[in-house]
């Protein structure tokens, strides 16, 4: 099961994200918008996104080893993925999450 996940994440399984931001800085806003767009486009109804503002939830930073903001952590499925930055590099985000064009096609086939 684990090895299966490692090699090719099951597209059908919902992806759980946490996005850590700090207030409403331009970077934070961009990151929120970017991940929302990606999720709507590629993971419609198959994702959970929790946006955490570290200014109001101070414990979050330590729990998820956050140093840099914005940071996107994918908690599920494994492996855990971390992305730093405002997520404007869409291609990088997709490849990190294992959501390539081909995979999107194959997911439509199934």
């Amino acid at each position: 099961m684990k090895s299966h996940n490692l090699t090719s994440p099951d597209i059908g399984q919902p992806q759980v994200f946490r996005l850590y931001v700090t207030g409403s800085t331009p970077q934070s806003s961009r990151a929120i918008n970017n991940i929302k767009t990606i999720c709507e486009t590629y993971l419609k109804d198959r994702h959970t996104l929790i946006v955490i503002d570290l200014y109001s939830d101070k414990f979050g930073a330590e729990a998820d080893q956050i140093v840099v903001t914005p940071t996107l952590v994918r908690h599920s499925p494994l492996p855990k993925r971390r992305m730093i930055g405002d997520l404007s590099d869409t291609a990088r985000v997709l490849s990190t999450l294992g959501i390539g064009h081909s995979q999107t096609v194959s997911s439509h086939e199934t």
């Binding site: 850590y20 700090t22 800085t25 970077q27 961009r30 990151a31 970017n34 570290l54 200014y55 101070k58 414990f59 930073a61 330590e62 080893q65 956050i66 140093v67 840099v68 903001t69 914005p70 940071t71 996107l72 855990k80 993925r81 971390r82 992305m83 730093i84 930055g85 405002d86 997520l87 404007s88 590099d89 990088r92 985000v93 990190t96």
Partner: protein
Amino acid sequence: MKKSKAKIQMKALQKSSTGIRGLDEITGGGLPTGRPTLICGGTGCGKTLLAMEFLLHGASEFGEPGVFMAFEETAEELTQNVMALGFDLTNLVARKQLRLDYVRIDRSELEETGEYDLEGLFVRLGHAIDSIKAKRVVLDTIEGLFAGLPSQAIVRAEIRRLFRWLKERKVTVIMTGERGEGMLTRYGLEEYVSDCVITLDHRVMDQVTTRRMRIVKYRGTTHGTNEYPFLIDQDGISVWPITSVQLRHEASRERIPSGIARLDAMLGGQGYYRGNSILMSGTAGTGKTSVAATFADATCRRGEKCLYFSFEESPSQIMRNMESIGLKLDQWEKKGRLQFHTVRAFYYGLEMHLAQMIKAISEFEPDVVIVDPISGLESTGNTLEVKAAIMRLMDFLKMKGITALLTDLTVGSNAPETSNSDVTSLVDTWLVLRDLELNGERNRGLHVLKSRGMANSNQVREFILSDNGVQLKDVYIGPNGMLTGSARVAEESRDRAQQVSRHEDVERQQLALERKRTAIEAQIMALRAEFCAEEATTLRIINQEQQHKESLVFAEEEMGRSRQHDAVKQVEGVAHKIGMKVRNQ
């Protein structure tokens, strides 16, 4: 006036005590309060420990809670590491005096997808500081950010911002940094910290390592500029600077006995001056340790404390050996008056030895320090260094009023009056132990080469190590100089024999005199008896003559009366005749 000046200074630069022995001394009070301090050095030089101690002392002694942000070690590892030093991190954490935060950045896990900043770290640190109202912060080591994050430009900008932010929060910060090539730190952290930079060093010279510390810069204050050796032992870090090089110590007039009564007699009758440095040089086997141990014994017997540094023998060996001359040193050790510090000279460098000795002296606070032998230190540095080190040690001891006895091994062809350590000009009293060779024997001799401020004997005295300790013998000067060993013993017995015969002579003469007196008295008795006899005879004759004369007078009177003559004339003539006769007898 002075007060207001002090006040201004206080305002200008407040310092936070590190609680680390000696570090506050060389920094003039501690690290700059509310500002960052950079501590840099190579691997294993003690950066993390120093930073951790800063927090621990702050939390437990100065009521300043601290945050330790670790980029390399986890909280568990840190807890374990300082456990060995007797600090209970868990307890401090539970009491909200300390907060550990392990920041893990794994570059391989991170994907850079756009612009970012380190606000997350700020929030984390800010939260940690707020949660325990921290006054002190350690970042160990912030270089982890450079290694963990892809964009160095962002990291640099953010670190600069971090320090501004920390200054605004008025927390005292230590950040550590690994030493880099040609730079203090690998990533040039020193450019962010302009207030205080301390380097730690762990240098190997002649296969011996010495830890050193130097304050590279400390803005707005005076500080010690030397490299100071420091120790890491079971008590953590300690620096032992000898900052005073002034000759200002108070000279004591008190005298303390050496433990050898006749040696005291040689030293003006009272022994050493308290607080003086005494050098005792001699070739191998001349009894240096024995004389030193006797002094130690005498010190403890007085109820004072003695610290004995030995570079050659273990404590038990010294105690066993000294038992053979009747010194029971173990009793003093048990009573806590005598402490041994034994270490091979080559285990540490000179500075480390010095630092350790000063530490031991400061902790034990002895009245007397014995270093046996000081020449043990020679192997740890060149002559100049050793001399400087010993000088500093002696200054330190004098400042504290501690009497020091240093033994020195003279080797090889050197004359007994030379000392390899070349410290003879520094010492106040110099005793030389030497071999005295005579009649195919080697014997031990002792003389006082110099002793400042007291009349001292100029004699070379033979001393022996007996069951009852060190004993100086009487001096015998023969036709060929001083007699020692069996020659002295022979001389002594000859002396004794002569004394005996002289004594007998006197007795004989007294007896003869007595006899003569008796004889003369007998003679006097005899003469007196003879005289008595003669006197008796003479008296008898006189008596007879008297009677005869009386009867003659009577007869003549009778005759005259009968013849009716002129009575008076006749009587006078007879009386005259009788007087003549008596006088002739």
